[in-house]
Symmetry: C2
DNA sequence: TATTGTTATACTCTATAACTATA
DNA sequence: TATAGTTATAGAGTATAACAATA
């Protein structure tokens, strides 16, 4: 992978390399990539409806159901009737979910740290900032 | 998408944003994402066997066949018996393939340019360099 | 015997359309 | 009538296994 390739190809290459390194870490903690994405979205303490959650993580609302079933059965998230709208079900992390997410997140960060080895702190900061810019740009 | 998210999430977000913006461009030129990847891999003038090409672009060798069938039918690539090993078939761009790839690449670069608007040249250079580092790091 | 290209098959992931209960 | 969640079904994408030609 060369730095004069398309930017899309570079992002895909970097993302794939990271994902491949992180998959065994997630497996060791008994989570799929998307399950981890759900835990991360809820980690700030949010309690969104399933529909809002699906939109936030850009995941299909119908597939989210089975994902949440698994996380609920594992005791990591809880679903409650929405306070305002009883059609909606509100999702939040359990205490165990909070602990589990923190543990996995630390392990993930270790992997990322290893992949970033050789890049100075200022470059890392700029990389994160530029990626966030790209992710939100229109 | 926030810049203190996981690096993997940031790469995925940036990659998805770019891919979504580039898809209509590719469609307008009658190419799928993977077909464009193949053209890009061959653009430097290389003439690899199908197996080597599949490994280079990290694509399944069995799926590559249908992909090449389409590109060959469109007159963009040519398959010839390998000079050294007659089992292998060597793939290369046709003249039309070279032209088509250059046209699509220019259009893709325009999209990327728009997405990068607001980032100074030095930041862009650093971004490309850091992404290439991440894509190749172990 | 091992490998390249190929085909056929099975499997997984994803998207679409209908059903229920609330609004 | 419309919307949140759910379910079932169909479709695309991907991986696995077997075959023919050549090494």
């Amino acid at each position: 992978m060369n730095e004069d390739d398309d930017l899309g190809a570079l992002c895909a290459g970097a993302g794939r390399n990271l994902a491949e390194a992180e998959r065994p870490v997630l497996e060791r903690h008994g989570l799929s990539m998307w399950q981890y994405v759900v835990l991360s979205a809820l980690a700030p303490g949010a309690a969104p409806s399933q529909l809002v959650l699906a939109q936030q993580i850009r995941y299909d609302k119908t597939r989210l159901i089975a994902l949440l079933d698994g996380l609920e059965a594992a005791g990591l998230v809880a679903r409650e009737p929405g306070p305002a709208d009883r059609r909606a079900r509100v999702v939040r992390l359990t205490q165990e979910g909070i602990r589990r997410h923190a543990a996995v997140r630390d392990a993930i960060r270790e992997v990322e740290e290893r992949k970033l080895a050789g890049l100075p702190p200022e470059t890392r900061r700029l990389l994160r900032s530029a990626l966030a810019h790209l992710a939100n740009a229109d």
